[in-house]
Symmetry: C2
Amino acid sequence: MYRTHNCGELRIEDLGNEVILSGWVQKGRDLGGLTFVDLRDRYGITQLVFNVEENKKLTEQARTLAREFVIKATGFVRERSSKNPNRATGDIEIEVTNLQILNASKTPPFTIENQTDGGEELRMKYRYLDLRRSNIQQNLIFRSQLALRTRNYLSQNGFIEVETPNLIKSTPEGARDFVVPSRMNPGEFYALPQSPQTFKQILMVAGLDKYFQIVKCFRDEDLRADRQPEFTQIDCEMSFVTRDQILDQFEGLTKHLFKFMLNISLPDFPKMSYDEAMERYGSDKPDTRFEMEFIAFTEIVKGHGFPVFDSAEYIAGICVSGEAENYSNKQIKELTEWLQRPQIGCKGMIYVKYNIDGSIKSSVGKFYSDEQLNSWFKIANAKPGDMLLMLCGETEKTRKQLCELRLEMGRRLELMDPSKFNALWIVDFPLLEWDEDSERFHAMHHPFTSPKKEDVDRMLAGDHETMKALRADAYDLVINGSEIGGGSIRIHDRALQQRNFDLLGFTREEAENQFGFLMGAFEYGAPPHGGIAFGFDRLNAVMNGQNSIRDFIAFPKNTSGRDIMIDAPSKVDITQLDELNLALKNIPE
Amino acid sequence: MYRTHNCGELRIEDLGNEVILSGWVQKGRDLGGLTFVDLRDRYGITQLVFNVEENKKLTEQARTLAREFVIKATGFVRERSSKNPNRATGDIEIEVTNLQILNASKTPPFTIENQTDGGEELRMKYRYLDLRRSNIQQNLIFRSQLALRTRNYLSQNGFIEVETPNLIKSTPEGARDFVVPSRMNPGEFYALPQSPQTFKQILMVAGLDKYFQIVKCFRDEDLRADRQPEFTQIDCEMSFVTRDQILDQFEGLTKHLFKFMLNISLPDFPKMSYDEAMERYGSDKPDTRFEMEFIAFTEIVKGHGFPVFDSAEYIAGICVSGEAENYSNKQIKELTEWLQRPQIGCKGMIYVKYNIDGSIKSSVGKFYSDEQLNSWFKIANAKPGDMLLMLCGETEKTRKQLCELRLEMGRRLELMDPSKFNALWIVDFPLLEWDEDSERFHAMHHPFTSPKKEDVDRMLAGDHETMKALRADAYDLVINGSEIGGGSIRIHDRALQQRNFDLLGFTREEAENQFGFLMGAFEYGAPPHGGIAFGFDRLNAVMNGQNSIRDFIAFPKNTSGRDIMIDAPSKVDITQLDELNLALKNIPE
């Protein structure tokens, strides 16, 4: 037997008992007469003690132990003379009578503590050591419990978890698929699913009524900092439901998870239309933990001879509370340069400082009187000491830029309270986006999203301009500025689905070839249905007030899509390619 | 709103209430004055009734409904005049006041009933209709509950569910990998995991202590009737455990699942060594629901002038109870021919009938006296009326053949009671198998399996013959002749792992290239560990007394690895291949 107890379990009640513990040497301290060893496992740390006078040989053996050795220690629980109140086992220690080294360890390349000295690359290469750190283990335990709790909640609500296939069919729509050559079907490929979308709809046509799955999905995209080629979704679908029934169901799930995991009672989630979110925050995933909402200035500031404003389609600003006299010219300049970086692309920024003494300092004083500027303050609800920051230009672009500015000011002024969770639904998205470059519509959500009921007739019969104005019966769940989930009521009618594919530029043949099975299914009694998918990696990070999903994934890939630990992807044998009827070509040296 | 209740929910207590139901038309009956419609959903069937005298228009509308139409019906619950005791809702019916057709349906290509007239191919193509059949839906619901129950049990026992990656590294060991070309790493490939084996071991080195995952795995094998290219495992690993602790833990899980899902209390699982299983049943997955164990005749029957026996390495038989006078010469001949098919490959079969009157009829009467044959009966514990069936030849081959014969007789005599569940552990497998053709050892389980403790020194230092006799610390869980799970204590020592790779014919470079990360991990404090994986698809089928796993998989593939419904795999665009630096070659027309 390797252990009678784990390293986080023994208490003062166990005094005098003979126990066996196994674990890793966290550290040792040699105080001459006494040698102490902290023994660690997933459950905690227990102090072992060796007394040189009572057992010289054993103590000498203990002195040979180095960090991360795996040992088994037998001994008696005794009370510590100096207790450690910060440790659950801090009242006791083990007086060791027998010690066995189960495995030695080389010196680890970084310290195995919550605050480690290991860089990202090194920690990924030795992920098995990185995962020994208690904070990362707690993340994985949190994730495991969150998944279990989700499953129990949805199952108790009548949902069935159905595993949909991972080897499916490649479709050129949306992001790139990972493809899998089929040996048994030469020249043909499976694709890994970007989501189980069509399968869950098929399950609704099949009458499963309420489906969920916590499922891996795959996208071969160029990876931004916090994207992974494989990621996990809580994927759900329901039949015979209205939009609000779906929102209620998953608001219920979200509240339940926050209550159970964090003991936080979330208030009801407000619903905000896409248009309103864009107007107030310039984003369809606003961080509503802080205000600093957009103030529309377009009407009031135009026509006063300031050419930049006069020629702008859209002028708006934010009111930065109490910062008028904290922000120096230098800081304004630095902030302007931050906005001018190519990632954001502003031409410039206008500021108007409302000083505490009532005086005004502004970059547009030449064009506007103090009276005019005071009227701006009034619109902005600005108080003395506040500062207006304004951007202008083409509406959509400027909104995005002002959104970035708002978030940056929120970060700088530490307005994003990590212990606060603001959830809301964004609803009534546009159905279609017109892409000027490719001269075609794209689905804002995906090609299976239904227009709102009142827009169905217009969609079937309307002209080009009508299409741009169609609203989708789609919704996103946003928490603290992160899109946590998104979904829609789906089309369940063959003609409407066909119309959507037509609008999206599919030829009839392409639509039939790729999604014929789904349109076929719609002809055999498809029920009205809709659903949602939550980004499970992101949900874990957001619930823990963290930005990066990587520390919630046991074995993440780097931004080149590589697993550094196992060194994948890698070359494969030429015979393996032969079997797959494949050859490499144009491989760069 | 589409419904206030589902179609399985209303009872006599609901009399008089106004309700809304939605679902599929199972069938309609027009009795002139009254029209009945059976409305179906996942939860049950409720009868709708339309009275032509009370509402002619509505009744005429109801008469237009055909099978599988999706409708919404509003009405009042009333008591049925002729109740249906076989249906949960059989006491009531709905007097419909409003009817809405939500979606029409073409006539389905097969009947949507438990006993359907649809062939396999047709049912797979229209899987969304096949899945409407109640028995298949019940299978999926069972599977969902079994997974949830497994997760709750293991979580309550301290296991953490960790998601391991699906895009990993290809290794030529074992079955063929499915590979996934990497666009971002030209000329390189990921592989889909055949199991998370190395990752779960890494998690043990990382100190996760107890891991599990219900996880999809992938094997690019030529598919036998009941194999799938993607399949699901309950995958588990534990640290600081002995073999018997693992067996206890997962015997506990298995008993819990049978109790919870089927209300069956399984007795303790016996442990049987691999050698004993081969001697008694000729199989490492014996169906122990019936006896008919092997009787060894090699010693006693040799040397009496019957050349077939005299030249055989191994002679054994089974005693078929009470069939001596039921089996005609014709049947014996047919059975012999069944054994002579190439799949089994017997040269012949010897029978000895012990007639009820004590007389003996046998195919070897020329060579053995009645006295001798009577002594065989004694060894076999045969009673008058029994029949011995004997095979001979090379030991291993003959055991396999006799195993097939035993199972066939079990089937013919209906000895495999589908309501009976016999579970046992097979232990002490050989570590290595010598393959004469390739002149190398293969791992009987996998290359990470530890030899039994007492065999470690012999493995590190022994000669070729010693290697053949090494026992692995490996085990299988067998229920009713199906291998449900298998696992082992793993190697956690670099030197021993290296020795195993050497024995398995890996060059040092190959071993380092493929598994260097694992051997490296063993140098940083790897704990003793071991685990098990259950075939989840198979477990579902066995618990339901069924042979095929297909009806427990929502979207199975056919024996060519194709999904007929979505028509995958399929050709991909040439530009997609270009992006992956791939070209097709040698594609047959």
